[in-house]
């Protein structure tokens, strides 16, 4: 067997904005939004961005392996938080992957994810592609209505692949259906994009690929065409001779179109339900087209992500507050109060000293007495030990724990009050006072079980920086026995 996909994972933010709320707030200006006001779209919490979603999706994928460390990490997005501070390196450190891993940021195209995957599969090395997108659209725009936030991850390699890579093909064409030269996207007429873009460019690339691979279009079991145009996949499929039943749902009603993450999100969704022998055709459209063809193998049953697309879809909280969505996406200038005026400078030299804690959530384990602690300090915290320089790095990111103490603070500044925080006691030792994210009112108590997640801790609007750290999230699982 050749090379192909070895694993996949996904992440969709829990918040799902109800589209009728967007329509209700904006139809006074654009009545056509009423027709789109159905279903829901995913929305990042205030402390989520492309990197934090990427960490979740990659973690979801890597959970399906026993200690896999991909030698290359491609991170694809058009909405990276940093234009110049390598986003994939932050991702890599948060995943605590080996520092020798090749890390690459790929951006500026809706094809960023598919092109990365193609580069890996056509190249020599094994690796992982993480695609993540958090697009901002103007208030009241169709993009705001139709897009969603999400991330997906795919690992590639040889050996027991779950989907064999049969071939790929690319076409570059500066067909400008939309562009982002400034803060927001600017697009051209939908009908033109469909007729001159989707229906001309995609068939050309796909037909060439299928011919190369000696595969008939009718044999495609899963056809992925990421688009916010509801009828485009059907039209393209018809032109190519792909069965209508093969079209993979764009999840417009549940997630929205997640930009550069959408192709891999749909691929992950297809892989979840695919059966051995089935063909998956993945396309990506944007200044041209990528097409990749896979055949699902018998190994598909042996891989399970922690959550997958179906699991991520199921973890949802309906959001009916459109004003909150505007605030979270910095689309309205909110009064933060004087406590929000505090300077949030990051002292980069200090950050550099604590990267193992801040990014990788590493604590320490004492060689002398076995005590586990976070953060790692010079002396062991065990009052009966206090050994010097005795702590080996000890990972906490995959630990679970329980809430020891907590509060909901309405005095301190928080982008989404109240600020929940408290002391967490980790299974296997270690204790830390930390923020809780996405707590539902009444959903936390001493003894609540938690997992930890890489999130944005603070934004520094004065300098365009943002601080990350790990936060605890309430698990809906019973406490372990004993």
């Amino acid at each position: 067997m050749g090379r192909g996909i070895t694993g996949f994972g996904a992440y969709i933010p829990r918040g799902r904005l109800q589209r009728f709320e967007i329509a209700g707030a904006n139809a006074w200006f654009d009545a056509s939004l009423k027709g789109l006001g159905r279903g829901e779209r995913s929305m990042c919490n205030w402390d989520e961005d492309v990197i934090t979603m990427g960490v979740e999706a990659a973690g979801d994928c890597l959970a399906g392996f026993d200690g896999h460390a991909p030698p290359a990490l491609y991170f694809a997005s058009t909405t990276f938080p940093f234009l110049d501070r390598q986003n994939s390196v932050v991702l890599l450190e948060a995943l605590n992957l080996p520092r020798q891993t090749l890390a690459v940021d790929v951006g500026a195209s809706q094809r960023a994810g598919t092109s990365s995957l193609l580069a890996l599969l056509q190249g020599a090395g094994d690796g992982m592609v993480v695609a993540s997108e958090h697009r901002r659209a103007k208030a009241g725009s169709r993009g705001e209505m139709l897009w969603g936030d999400a991330a997906a991850a795919v690992t590639t390699g040889g050996g027991a692949v779950i989907a064999e890579f049969l071939g790929g093909r690319s076409l570059a064409a500066d067909f400008v259906d939309h562009y982002r030269g400034g803060e927001f996207d600017y697009d051209w007429e939908e009908r033109w994009i469909r007729d001159e873009g989707y229906l001309k460019i995609i068939p050309e690339v796909v037909a060439g690929l299928l011919a190369n691979c000696k595969v008939g279009a009718a044999d495609i079991a899963h056809f992925i065409l990421p688009t916010e145009q509801a009828r485009a996949p059907g039209a393209v499929a018809k032109k190519l001779g792909i069965a209508p039943g093969a079209i993979v749902d764009n999840q417009a009603a549940t997630v929205g179109v997640a930009g550069a993450a959408q192709p891999l999100l749909l691929l992950a969704a297809a892989l979840e339900s695919a059966k051995p022998g089935e063909l998956i055709l993945l396309t990506g459209f944007g200044q041209g087209c990528d097409a990749l063809l896979f055949r699902v193998t018998g190994a598909i049953g042996g891989f399970r992500p922690a959550r997958g697309v179906s699991g991520a879809l199921a973890v949802r909280r309906e959001e009916r507050n459109y004003a909150k969505f505007l605030a979270f996406n910095d689309l309205v200038e909110r009064d933060t109060g004087k406590r929000g005026e505090t300077d949030r400078q990051t002292y980069l030299s200090g950050y550099n000293r604590r990267r193992d804690l801040v990014n990788s959530f590493l604590g320490g384990k004492c060689r002398e007495c076995g005590t586990v602690q976070i953060p790692r300090e010079k002396y062991c915290v065990n009052p009966d030990c206090h050994a010097l320089d005795s702590q080996d790095p000890h990972p906490f990111a995959d630990k679970r724990g329980e809430v020891l103490t907590w509060t909901a603070d309405r005095l301190t500044f928080d982008p989404s009050p109240p600020a929940y925080f408290g002391m967490v006691r980790f299974d296997g030792g270690g204790k830390l006072m930390m923020d809780f994210t996405e707590v539902d009112e009444g959903g936390i108590e001493s003894g609540s079980r938690v997992s930890v997640h890489f999130r944005v801790r603070q934004y520094d609007p004065q300098r365009g920086f943002r601080k990350y750290f790990w936060k605890a999230k309430i698990l809906r699982e019973p406490a372990p026995a004993g």
């Binding site: 953060p375 509060t407 005095l411 109240p418 006072m433």
Partner: protein
């Protein structure tokens, strides 16, 4: 073998400004107000002071750095002045410096003064501020009520106390302090409240509501200390002497080691044991006449009663609701209104506590005078339950 501080140093005089929202008073104005009362009480001239300790908790926001703001405000005579800062325990820390200086024999008369000007921030509560380069990277952006609210959840979990019962006991703590504060002309908050008001007030940091929080105040307090011999030579009788002066500072065990469950103040327990040993107190609940404790929040006072061994472990809720620490109870707490109602100008608070017990011991506490008190305990706490500084001082008759 060290002998401890007991009866080595006497309080020659004390002063305390009116606490409150002193919009018209600068830090220097507040310092002078306390200092003038203190000098008059001591019956000495400024020139007799040989050394001074100056406490301010959040100096970046008001008085500015170093010991100079006090030396300038009080026109001290180019004597050594040391600036101290130990968060909310700063006032007691200044007192400790002056007392130790006298006890060492390095000087005869020393001054301790604490001040805080909190009402120049433009908003309620303590100033939002940096916790330092390292802590700012990973600490929650916690407020003081947010930190101490966790003491309530920790206590509740440990002792399996019902939410409502604990909240009612917390309300009782505040109702009592408001009743006491109403009788104190220098207090910031001088209005009685009902248990219902306290129970129904909006949350600041669950389960801490508005009335569970102490006043955020401007104010200053100070003490002049000397040896008992010099005090007597200056014509003083009914001397009030220092019986114990202890400090316990967290070393990270509470925040990082599993041995602490968040239900109590480890530092208070340690400092109390040491203070009782130093003062020769064997049965604190019987020997102590009154306490001024660090009631930054009602829950802190409640838990502190146990940590000081004035209530059995897990029994503070009952003891509080039984009125044991009310003005008429067997061991009155915060007879001056406490931080809750006298107010909490951070750097001044430790000295304000000592001031009240000093007045009580001298029978000069006016409408709130207790009957024949002999020994007063002051408990001053800086920081958060999981990382803090606890200072305990005890004063009594020679």
């Amino acid at each position: 073998m060290a002998q401890g501080i007991k009866d080595k140093v006497a309080i020659l005089g004390m002063g305390c400004s009116k606490f409150g929202e002193r919009w018209d008073a600068s830090p220097a104005d507040l310092m002078v107000e306390a200092f003038e009362e203190c000098l008059a009480d001591a019956g000495i001239e400024r020139e007799a002071i040989e050394a001074a300790w100056f406490g301010a908790g959040i100096d970046a926001f008001h008085v500015g750095a170093s010991a100079m703001p006090m030396a300038i405000a009080l026109r001290l005579n180019y004597i050594p002045v040391t600036k101290v800062e130990n968060m909310c325990a700063t006032g007691t820390e200044a007192f400790r410096g002056a007392v130790y200086a006298v006890a060492s024999g390095a000087c005869d008369i020393a001054l301790a003064l604490g001040v805080e000007k909190l009402k120049d921030t433009g908003y309620g509560g303590l100033p939002q501020r940096s916790r330092g380069v390292e802590n700012d990277m990973y600490w929650p952006n916690l407020s003081a009520p947010g930190a101490f609210a966790q003491l309530a959840t920790g206590y509740r979990a440990r002792h399996r106390v019902n939410k409502q019962d604990l909240k009612r006991a917390m309300a009782h703590v505040s109702v009592k302090s408001h009743a006491n504060g109403a009788k104190n002309p220098k207090a910031h908050l001088r209005r009685e409240i009902t248990e219902q008001q306290a129970m129904e007030a909006p949350f600041i940091a669950e389960p801490i509501g508005l009335y569970d929080c102490c006043g955020v105040s401007d104010g200053s307090a100070c003490a002049i200390v000397t040896t008992p011999e010099i005090a007597r030579s200056l014509g003083k009788d009914h001397l009030v002497a220092v019986k114990a002066l202890q400090l316990a500072v967290s070393n990270g065990t509470e925040s990082s080691h599993e041995s602490w469950d968040g239900s109590y103040l480890k530092t208070t327990r340690i400092a109390a044991r040491r203070a009782y040993d130093e003062a020769g107190v064997r049965r604190p609940a019987e020997e102590i006449s009154m306490t001024e404790v660090h009631d930054c929040f009602s829950i802190t006072e409640l838990v502190t009663m146990e940590d000081l061994q004035l209530a059995g472990e897990g029994e503070a809720v009952t003891a509080v609701l039984d009125g044991e620490f009310d003005a008429e109870g067997k061991l009155p707490c915060q007879i001056d209104g406490g931080l809750k109602c006298f107010g909490h100008p951070i750097g001044a608070s430790g000295l304000r506590m000592i001031y009240e017990n000093y007045l009580q011991l001298q029978g000069r506490a006016g409408a709130r005078q207790l009957t024949n008190p002999k020994l007063g305990l002051n408990h001053n706490l800086g920081g958060f339950p999981h990382q803090n500084i606890c200072s305990i001082s005890m004063i009594g008759h020679m």
